[in-house]
Subunit: 114 residues, 2 copies
């Protein structure tokens, strides 16, 4: 059994409400939301960090941004704006070592981004 | 003549030092850096926001993340970590309306991300 939290969601071993899913990726609400909308977009294929992505992952990453736009529109963020963030390694705040993208919106986003 | 700042860099009308370039995208240092490393990765094709990306852009976005990994390794951020951020619309801090991704590293990154 995989020890990776997100792989356990992929396999169905860990059941969580998904806000989106397709054969390449799925999305869930962050359990520690930092904004009124805080969704995680997660490619199903296990890669520990974005440094581990290779050419075979490029299509899935490109598609992930299309899905993010769709979810943002569904939440009305195409008017108010949103930010997409990905952390690589602990020094940048990565806590789960399976690539995931944060989509945050529903409040003004400050600068710098952390 | 394009009024878009980044399109003027693409056309060569505005000359700036590039830290990377290929037929799909280029990268420059942010003129208002928020971290010791703060690079902008910019697809050449004009899209005002990430909401305007379509299926024809997916490959370029996927490739952009591969280039980001390469630049991060060049800067030693594959040890200390880095964050990639993209802002959509003014409410999220977007100031230039031509899609660009921020790569930040060289210091600990805080949470929330802005």
């Amino acid at each position: 059994m995989s020890e990776c939290l997100f792989c356990r969601m992929v396999s169905g071993d860990l059941k969580v409400p998904k806000v989106y899913e397709d054969p390449d990726l799925f999305a869930i609400n962050d359990i520690h939301p930092q904004a009124p909308v805080h969704i995680l977009l997660i490619p199903r294929r296990h890669r520990a960090t974005i440094l581990d992505l290779d050419e075979n992952d490029q299509a899935a990453i490109g598609k992930l941004f299309s899905v993010a736009s769709r979810l943002a529109r569904d939440k009305g963020l195409d008017q108010s704006g949103y930010r997409i963030v990905v952390n690589c390694l602990e020094g940048a705040g990565q806590s789960v070592f399976h690539v995931h993208f944060h989509l945050l919106g529903g409040r003004p986003m400050r600068w710098p981004p952390g």
